[in-house]
């Protein structure tokens, strides 16, 4: 093969020749391949070699079969499907359906619980119960109907500006403030409201003795007569209250855990055969 031919062949597409051999070319490609073969001896040799190799693969001699593959009666008995195996096969189908259903139920429950709980969008300042919500309505109405000089909306309530107001045992509203965007509605004052509360109402030891925990606090909005006996119209105190520990575990968390468990159980039921098969294929040497 001379140098010129080699240079020319290096510009040719060998894969195109192989595709021509396999009958996998369009008309323009076929023309191009045939042109290359007519011009280039190496391209023509590729085509000829592919033909020779194909024939050789078809006619390839093979080693003698090492044994007879007839099935013995013992093999047949082992392979014959037992009734309980048929039942297992039915169980396999049932298991897939069951696992999928349980996992789906768990997932839907997780999402639904999450949406309905305080962590869902738009519920950051959610009340903890309907009764509390009902109880809050007149208080909020009173707050919004405050006389001039009073903040008229929740967003304008600034406890720091209002100053320390004694907390009475009157109406109070417990609210969650787990949603930061809505927190301005009851922003804790720069100075610790608990300290204010302690100063104003030393008798309330529970509130005074508990340090504020910004991460887990509940705010108590209190309205009612002040300690001097005058009606504290318009006085609103927002006091962080530690998350109640006397209520026991949060119902939302229980639901979340339940649905999460359900989801996991469904996944395990669904994927157990696959995991078993992978483990078996890794553990059993095949050849």
């Amino acid at each position: 093969m001379d140098r010129t031919a080699a240079t020319t062949h290096s510009e040719h597409d060998e894969l195109l020749i192989a595709r021509l051999f396999g009958g996998d070319v369009t008309e323009p490609e076929r023309d191009r391949a045939l042109d290359a073969m007519s011009e280039c001896g190496e391209c023509a040799a590729i085509f000829a070699d592919l033909g020779a190799i194909e024939s050789a693969v078809v006619e390839m001699a093979i080693p003698a079969r090492p044994r007879d593959f007839a099935i013995t009666p013992q093999d047949a008995a082992r392979l014959r499907r037992k009734p309980w195996l048929a039942g297992l096969a039915g169980w396999a189908g049932l298991r897939r359906a069951l696992g999928g259903s349980i996992a789906a139920l768990g997932l839907v429950g997780l999402v639904a619980t999450n949406l309905m709980s305080g962590t869902g969008p738009g519920s950051g300042f959610g009340l903890t119960s309907n009764s509390q919500r009902d109880a809050a309505q007149p208080v909020m109405a009173a707050a919004t109907a405050a006389p001039a000089g009073m903040p008229t909306s929740a967003s304008t309530v600034n406890p720091a500006a209002l100053g320390p107001v004694p907390v009475s045992s009157g109406d109070h509203l417990t609210t969650d403030t787990s949603s930061p965007p809505e927190r301005p509605a009851a922003t804790p004052p720069a100075t610790s409201p608990t300290q204010e509360l302690a100063a104003a109402s030393p008798g309330d030891k529970t509130a005074a003795s508990t340090p504020p925990n910004p991460a887990a606090t509940r705010y108590v909005i209190c309205c009612g007569p002040s300690s001097d006996g005058t009606n504290s119209t318009g006085s609103v105190s927002v006091t962080p209250e530690p998350a109640s520990s006397s209520h026991g575990p949060d119902a939302t968390m229980i639901w979340l855990a339940g649905f999460g468990g359900l989801f996991l159980v469904g996944l395990i039921v669904l994927l157990a055969p696959l995991l078993k098969r992978i483990r078996r294929s890794r553990g059993t040497p095949r050849g």
């Binding site: 396999g22 009958g23 050789a56 001699a61 093979i62 593959f69 392979l79």
Partner: protein, 215 residues
């Protein structure tokens, strides 16, 4: 794009029919009768099927898994699987049905070996090679055929399992591109690419033995 078997030079080569589309072989009726008997529980009938097809299956699998012992294990597993699933046979060519089972078993083995590579391939000094029937008359031709087959087996062993399977199914079993794509669960284009690139790779590996193939 021609997805059927190609006419290699565009004119001369006739396309071989794919296995499923092949006209019924004379033995097809016997095969079907044996399947019916085997379905009634007669093991001898199934073993008659084994006897009729074991050479073909071993030859097919040996091209896919070029190790005699492993190929034998694959064929045995294929017959076990066929016996277990005899009731799922839906008619047609028994030979083709068994071939597909064997190819699937071989591909399972190749996948397992991909995960756990082992020392590959055969001892080519083995004396048990069977020459093609036509070359039995001439001792020289017989020797040449065995040499060629050994070189080819070694070259096939250097291909990826996917390329090897596609080439064997196309060249030996006569499946067309789309049938191979169905069997291997890949796109038709992938099958074409594996065949074309695999052939070029084979040519490269066999370059030192070119004289064996140009007789």
């Amino acid at each position: 794009m021609n997805e059927q078997r190609g006419d290699h030079d565009g004119t001369a080569l006739a396309a071989r029919p794919a296995s499923d589309a092949a006209p019924e072989s004379p033995g097809q009726g016997i095969d079907l009768a044996l399947v019916e008997e085997a379905l009634k529980g007669r093991l001898e009938a199934f073993n008659e099927l084994v006897t009729r097809h074991q050479d073909h299956l071993f030859a097919l699998v040996y091209r896919l898994v070029p190790d005699r012992d492993q190929a034998a294990d694959v064929v045995q597993e294929a017959f076990f699987s066929a016996y277990r699933n005899l009731a799922s046979f839906r008619g047609g060519s028994v030979r083709s049905w068994l071939g597909k089972i064997a190819v699937n078993a071989a591909m399972d083995l190749q996948r397992a070996r991909k995960r756990r590579p082992i020392q590959p391939y055969p001892e080519f000094e083995d004396d048990s090679w069977q020459p093609p029937a036509e070359s039995e008359a001439e001792p020289e031709m017989k020797a040449l055929a065995i040499e060629r087959s050994k070189a080819l087996a070694a070259a096939l062993a250097t291909l990826t399992a996917d390329q090897r399977t596609c080439i064997v199914l196309f060249d030996v079993e006569g499946y067309d591109y789309s049938e191979i794509a169905t069997i291997m669960k890949v796109e038709v284009g992938t099958v074409k690419s594996r065949i074309h690139r695999g052939r070029l790779a084979l040519r490269g590996v066999l370059a030192p033995h070119r004289e064996l193939f140009r007789g």
